[in-house]
Subunit: 681 residues, 2 copies
C-alpha cells in the first residue's frame, strides 16, 4: 500500500478557505459548537469528580485515567476516586451504556457546560463522556491565579464515524508499550479506530496457535502473543478505540509462505529475507481456503471488532502468470484475467468472513461487481475511487492524502477532505456511504524509536479533518493549536519531541549537541518515495535506521516559524522590527553554525554526510544577512550578486543525505526582495 | 532519617587529591585495571554474541537485554539470539552459576579482553558477566568509520560488596515502572542493592494479606500488590540487584497505626493526614510482638534477601513518656530510659527475624551492646558512628554524605568515603566490617515525575565511590565522564534530562519556553533542609509539587561550565579568547533574558515567584559584561562601581522561590578581577 498517486496537491492547497475560530481556545479537534462565556472555573487541589446516570468499570477506569492525566498535567496530587455528587467540580452523566464490543454506529456526542461554580459533562453513552473528558483536559490552562478552565458551553459530535490510524507493524515490529502511547494520543484527538496492519512480506506479527510456523518462520522472533493482543485490544476499548486487524491476502504475504509455502502460487522456498520473491497465495487450491477458514476462525475470536481487513492490494500477477495450473483454472472457469481470479478469491474470502460475522474490508483493488455491498473499500487511490465505490453502493474510507510516511507537512494532509473532488458531487445517500478516513503509518523507515515523531503531531491535523466541520480549515489556526497540543501529547508518554535529542546524542557520541541541533531543526526528510527511489541496493528491513533522516522531524517547526517571520517582515513593507530581529538572529546563528559543527561532523560516520548541508546552511545565513543589510539601507542589491545567490539557492535546494534544507525559500524571498521596490508584495 | 548532620564538608572537599585516568575512556565507575591497546573492534550489523561455560535463563535474559541495549544505543537491528561459538564478536564465559537468592559475599569480578578481531568476557559467575556487559556498553563509541569499542584489557572488581540506593516510597508513592528504570540505571553503574523504604508516617505501600488494613487505611490507595512485588524483585535479581525491604519500627510508622491503632503507644486515632501525631509502637505489650511475628512471617516470604531492615531511627520518646503503663514497664524491668526500652524492643525483633533466617539491619540508633554482632548498622550520622560500630564488632554501611535529597553537587558526594575520618584508623579486621554504602533518596519533595532528576546523574558519582579504587577521586575527570554517562542513561528510559522540558511547559502553559529554559538552567533548589525549614505551614505530602524548585536540576551543568570558563579565562591571565567568547555569550543571553521572559512570568501563577530571580540574572549579565569590558581595555574598574555590584551580588545570592542562582560566584570573580592586576590569581 505504499505506491500513492500524488495528484493536484497544489490545487487542493490553493483552494483553502480561511475560517479562524473566534473563541481562541486551544482545542483540537475543534468542536462543532463552542459558546465562550465570561470567567473561569478554578482547577486546584480540591478538584473532584462525581458520577450520576449509567456507570460501569470501563467508565470508572476512564474517569480514573482522566484524574491521573489532570494530575500529571498540573503537577497536583488529586483525589483519585469519584466522590458523592454534592458539589463536585465536574459532574459526569452518561445516559446509558455503550455496546459491549464498540460499534461503528454508536453516538459519540457530548455536551460540556462549564460555569464559574462547576462543570457538567453529559453524553448519551460513555464514548461521548470519554471525548468530553479529553476536551476538558485540553481546556485546562495556567493563569496568573492558578489552573483553570474557561466558562464555556460545548456541544460536540464527530463529522465522520470512522476516524482511524493505520500502523504497519509488519515491516518493522513496534512493541506494545509504544503502540499504547499512540492509543493514548489517538484518544486525546478523538480518533476511534486503530487499523493494525499485522503482517507484510517482512514479518508476521501475531501468534497463531493453530499455525505456529506463521510467527516462527515468518518473523525474526518479534510478534505479539495472543494474551498480549487481548490485553491490548481491551486497552484500546477502554479508550473508545476499535481495533481492526488487517491480514493481507492474497498479496503482500511472503512472511506467511515462510512457514506454509504450499499456500503460495510459486514454487518457493520463501523467507522474510530482503529481495525475496513477491509471492501471492494460490486461489485455485481448496487447501488455501481450508487454511484461511481455520486461520480466520482463530483470529475472529482474538479481534472482537465487526470489521476484518483482508488487504487485497497490489496483487502481483507474475506468479499467477507463471503457474500453468493457475492459468488452466482461469480458463476453465471462464475468467478473463488475473483480476477476475482475485475477485473469485475475494468472494470466497467474504463468505468465510461472513460465517464468522465479520464485515470484509479491503483496499481499492477488491472493488468488483461480484462482491456484496456490505464490503468496505479503503481508498489509497483517491476521492474518485471512493466516489465510484459509493455510487456502486459500497461504503468506503479515504486514506489517499493521509499517508504519514510521505513526510508531508500537516497543512497538506489537513487540506485533504474525504468529501472533496469526485465525492463532492455524490447524492446524499451515496455520501452517507463515506464513513470517514484513516491516516496511514507505513513502516519502511520506522522504528520503535522514531515512530512517534512520524505520527505526531501531524496525525492530529488528520484527526481534526475527520472530526470537525469541513469549514474548519484555516492552516494558521490549525498550526497554532497543533503547537500547543504537541507538547501536551508528551505527557502521555509519546516521545515525538524528546526523541530527536536522544538520536542526536547517538550520532554525535557526545554531550554537546547544540550545533548539531541547530542544523537538525531546519531539515526535513525527503518527501513521497524519494528515499526509497534513491536506494542503491534493495531495501532491507534490517538495515540500521540511525541517520539524521531517521530522526529529523517530518515537518520543521523552526523553518515554519522562520517563513512566517519573513512573510511578516516583507508583508510589513520591511518595517516590522520584531520580525527582522528574529530573522537576523536565526541567520546569524546559521552563518556561524558550520564552524561550530564541523569538527563533530568529521568525527562521526553517521554525521559525515551532513557536511554539505551544514555548509549550505551557513551560506544561506550569509546570503540572507547580506540581503537584509541591503533592505535596511534601502539600497537595491546588485544584479550580479543576486545571480550568484541563485546558484547557491539551487545547490541548497537539492536533497542531500536524504534531507531537505527547509529555509531555502524564505532566504530566496529576502534575496529577491533586496532587488528593490518592484519586488515588494 | 532526614535530619542529617552536615559537618566539615568544606574540609572534606579541601582534601581532594587529583588522580586523572590516563586512558581517557568514558567508563563509570572506573574499573580497577585498564590496559589500553591500539586499534578497535568494529560494532556493526554483524555483531554477534556466543556463550560458553555456565548458562541459565537469567544469564540468557541478561545477554538478550545487552543486545537490545546495544541496538538501542546504535540504532541498528541486531541479531537477538546468541549464536554458536564460531567467531562471535563477543564471547561470554561465566565459569559457574550464582546463588539462587543473590548473596552479599558473591564474587562480582570480571575480565574483558577486546582485540581487533573479537572480545572475550569472562567471570567467575553471571554477576560479573552482567557488570562486564555494562562496561562493554559504555565502551561503544562512534568513530569516523563506524561504531566501535577500543582494544583494551579490563580487570575489574568492586571495592565494596554493598553498593546501594535507598528509595523512599512512603512519603510519595513511586510507580514500579519508574522504579524499574532506576534499577536499569543502577545496573548501568554496577550498584547492587535497592534498599526499599516501603512505608513511613505518610503511607504504607505493601499489600499485606494478613493485615489488609495496613494498606487500606494506611495509604491513599497507592501501594504495591504482592504479585507486583514478586515480579519487581525478580526484575532486580535479573540485573544483579538485591532488594532489601525496610519496615520502620518502632517509629516513623504512623501509617501503620491508621489501621491498627492498638499497636501504638498513644491513644490515637491515627491517620496519614499531615500534622498527625508522631507515633511510636508500644514495645511493652505482647500483642505487638505477635503482630510483628505474623507480619514478618508474611514479608520474609515476599522478600527473599537475607537482610531485613527495621529502621529504628529517630524514635520519638514523647508517647512513651506520656504513657504510665509504659513507664511502669520501664521501671519494672530496671531500664534506665527510653533508649533501653528501644534496645529491648530491638532484641525481641532480632529474635523474630532470626527465626525467619533474616539478618537484622537498622540505622545508627539501634546500636546497643545487647544486640548480637550479626546486626548491620546503617549510618546516617557519619564515619565516626560507623567506626564505633565496627570496633564493637558490627558490620556497617555509610549513608552519611550520600543523601541525594539534600541537593548537593555530585562532587560533594563523591568526596565522601566510607573509609575516611574515624574509619581510616580502624584495624584491617574492623575495616572489613564496613560493607559499603548507600545513596538515599528521601521523598519529601519527590514525585514520579522528578525522581529521576533527583537521583541521576549524581547517583553515579556515589556508585563510583563505592566500586572504584579510593585513588580515583579527581572531580574534573568524574564530571567529564558523568556528562557522557548522563545522556546515555536516558536510553534506559530514565527522564532526568528530558523531564525539565515537560515541567517548564506545564508552568508556562505554552510552547515557547526558550527564555524560561535559560533561567531554569542556571538555578538549583536550595540545599540541605532549607526548603523544609522555610515552610510556613506543616509539610503536607499531598501539596502540589509543580514549582520550578521541583523541576530544576539539583546541580546546574550550565553554571558549572560557566564557572569553568571563568576559571580558564582568569587562569589564562585574561588571554583565552575561546573562554572569553563563551563567557560573553552567556552574559549577553542573561542580560537580555528578563525582557523576553517577563511577559510569561506575569501570566502564570507558578512562574510569578521567579520575577526577582529573572531580574537578578539579567543584572548579573550586565555586571559581568561591564567587568569584562574593563578587563578587555586593561582598565581597572572604579571602586564605587564595584561596591555597587557587591549589593547586587548579595541580593542575587539570597535564595528566592526556594532556588539559588548558581552563577553569582563566577560573576563576582569577574568583578573582583576587574579591579586590576592585584586581583589576578
Amino acid at each position: 500500500m505504499r505506491t500513492l498517486l500524488i495528484a493536484n496537491a497544489a490545487l487542493i492547497l490553493a483552494s483553502l478557505a480561511v475560517a479562524q475560530p473566534q473563541h481562541g481556545l486551544n482545542l483540537m479537534p475543534m468542536p462543532s459548537s463552542v459558546q465562550a462565556g465570561v470567567g473561569q472555573l478554578s482547577v486546584d487541589r480540591s478538584f473532584s469528580v462525581a458520577m450520576t446516570g449509567f456507570g460501569d468499570a470501563t467508565l470508572e477506569r476512564g474517569v480514573h485515567r482522566f484524574v491521573a492525566e489532570l494530575s500529571r498535567q498540573t503537577g497536583m496530587f488529586l483525589q483519585q476516586k469519584p466522590v458523592g455528587s454534592a458539589n463536585p467540580t465536574l459532574l459526569i452523566h452518561p445516559v446509558h451504556g455503550s455496546e459491549k464490543a464498540q460499534k461503528l454506529s454508536e453516538d459519540e456526542s457530548y455536551e460540556l457546560v462549564i460555569s464559574q461554580s462547576g462543570a457538567k459533562l453529559t453524553a448519551p453513552n460513555p464514548l461521548g463522556i470519554l471525548h468530553g473528558l479529553q476536551t476538558f483536559l485540553q481546556l485546562v490552562e495556567i493563569t496568573a491565579k492558578g489552573f483553570a478552565v474557561p466558562v464555556v458551553t460545548i456541544k460536540d459530535q464527530p463529522r465522520f464515524a470512522w476516524r482511524g490510524l493505520l500502523i504497519d507493524v509488519g515491516r518493522h515490529f513496534i512493541p506494545l508499550d509504544v503502540l499504547k502511547h499512540n492509543l493514548d494520543g489517538m484518544a486525546a484527538v478523538k480518533m476511534n479506530v486503530l487499523h493494525w496492519h499485522l503482517y507484510d512480506n517482512e514479518g508476521f506479527r501475531v501468534e497463531s496457535k493453530r499455525f505456529p510456523k506463521l510467527q516462527e518462520a515468518g518473523s525474526d522472533g518479534l510478534y505479539y502473543r495472543q494474551d498480549e493482543i487481548r490485553e491490548f485490544v481491551a486497552y484500546a476499548h477502554d479508550r473508545g478505540i476499535r481495533v481492526v486487524p488487517e491480514f493481507e491476502m492474497p498479496g503482500h504475504s511472503r512472511s506467511l509462505f515462510a512457514g506454509y509455502p504450499e499456500l503460495a502460487s510459486g514454487p518457493g522456498p520463501y523467507t522474510i529475507e530482503p529481495g525475496g520473491a513477491d509471492a501471492v497465495m494460490d486461489p485455485t487450491r481448496e487447501e488455501t481456503y481450508k487454511f484461511i477458514y481455520k486461520f480466520i476462525d482463530e483470529m475472529a475470536r482474538l479481534f472482537p471488532d465487526n470489521y476484518f481487513h483482508i488487504g487485497g492490494d497490489e496483487v502481483n500477477g507474475h506468479q499467477w502468470d507463471a503457474n500453468p495450473k493457475i492459468q488452466a483454472f482461469i480458463h476453465a472457469h471462464g475468467m478473463k484475467n488475473n483480476q477476475e481470479l482475485q475477485a473469485y478469491f475475494n468472494q470466497r474470502l467474504q463468505k468465510i468472513l461472513s460465517k464468522h460475522h465479520k464485515i470484509m474490508m479491503g483496499w481499492d483493488e477488491v472493488l468488483h461487481p461480484n462482491l456484496p455491498k456490505t464490503v468496505v473499500v479503503q481508498s489509497w487511490r483517491g476521492q474518485q475511487s471512493l466516489a465510484t465505490a459509493a455510487q456502486q453502493g459500497y461504503s468506503g474510507l479515504l486514506s489517499f492524502g493521509y499517508y504519514l510516511d510521505l513526510m508531508w507537512p500537516a497543512s497538506r494532509h489537513y487540506a485533504v477532505d474525504p468529501m472533496s473532488g469526485a465525492a463532492a458531487s455524490l447524492n446524499p445517500e451515496e455520501k452517507s456511504r463515506i464513513l470517514g478516513g484513516e491516516a496511514c503509518m507505513w513502516s519502511e523507515w520506522v522504528t520503535p524509536e522514531n515512530i512517534d515523531s512520524r505520527i505526531w503531531p501531524r496525525n492530529a491535523a488528520i484527526a481534526e479533518r475527520l472530526w470537525s466541520s469541513p469549514e474548519v480549515q484555516d492552516p494558521g489556526s490549525m498550526y497554532a493549536r497543533l503547537d500547543e497540543l504537541s507538547w501536551r501529547l508528551e505527557w502521555l508518554g509519546l516521545t515525538h519531541r524528546s526523541n530527536l535529542i536522544s538520536a542526536l546524542h547517538r550520532m554525535a557520541g557526545t554531550d554537546d549537541i547544540a550545533a548539531l541541533h541547530t542544523l537538525a531543526e531546519v531539515v526535513e526528510p525527503v518527501k513521497d518515495y524519494a528515499r526509497m527511489d534513491s536506494l542503491k541496493t534493495v531495501w532491507d528491513f534490517r538495515a540500521p535506521l540511525n541517520r539524521l533522516v531517521d530522526a529529523a522531524n517530518p515537518e520543521s517547526n523552526q523553518a515554519r516559524h522562520f517563513r512566517d517571520s519573513v512573510q511578516a517582515y516583507i508583508g510589513s513593507g520591511f518595517t516590522d522590527p520584531a520580525a527582522e530581529g528574529e530573522i537576523r538572529r536565526n541567520l546569524a546563528t546559521w552563518r556561524d553554525n558550520d564552524a561550530r559543527l564541523r569538527p563533530l561532523l568529521e568525527q562521526s560516520f553517521l554525521l559525515h554526510e551532513l557536511v554539505p548541508l551544514s555548509e549550505d546552511l551557513s551560506a544561506l545565513g550569509v546570503a540572507g544577512l547580506t540581503a537584509l543589510d541591503y533592505l535596511d539601507r534601502s539600497e537595491a542589491s546588485p544584479e550580479p550578486w543576486r545571480a550568484q545567490q541563485l546558484a547557491l539557492l539551487d545547490r541548497a535546494r537539492t536533497p542531500k543525505a536524504d534531507l531537505l534544507l527547509m529555509v531555502v525559500a524564505p532566504v530566496q524571498r529576502l534575496i529577491e526582495a533586496s532587488a528593490g521596490q518592484t519586488q515588494k508584495p
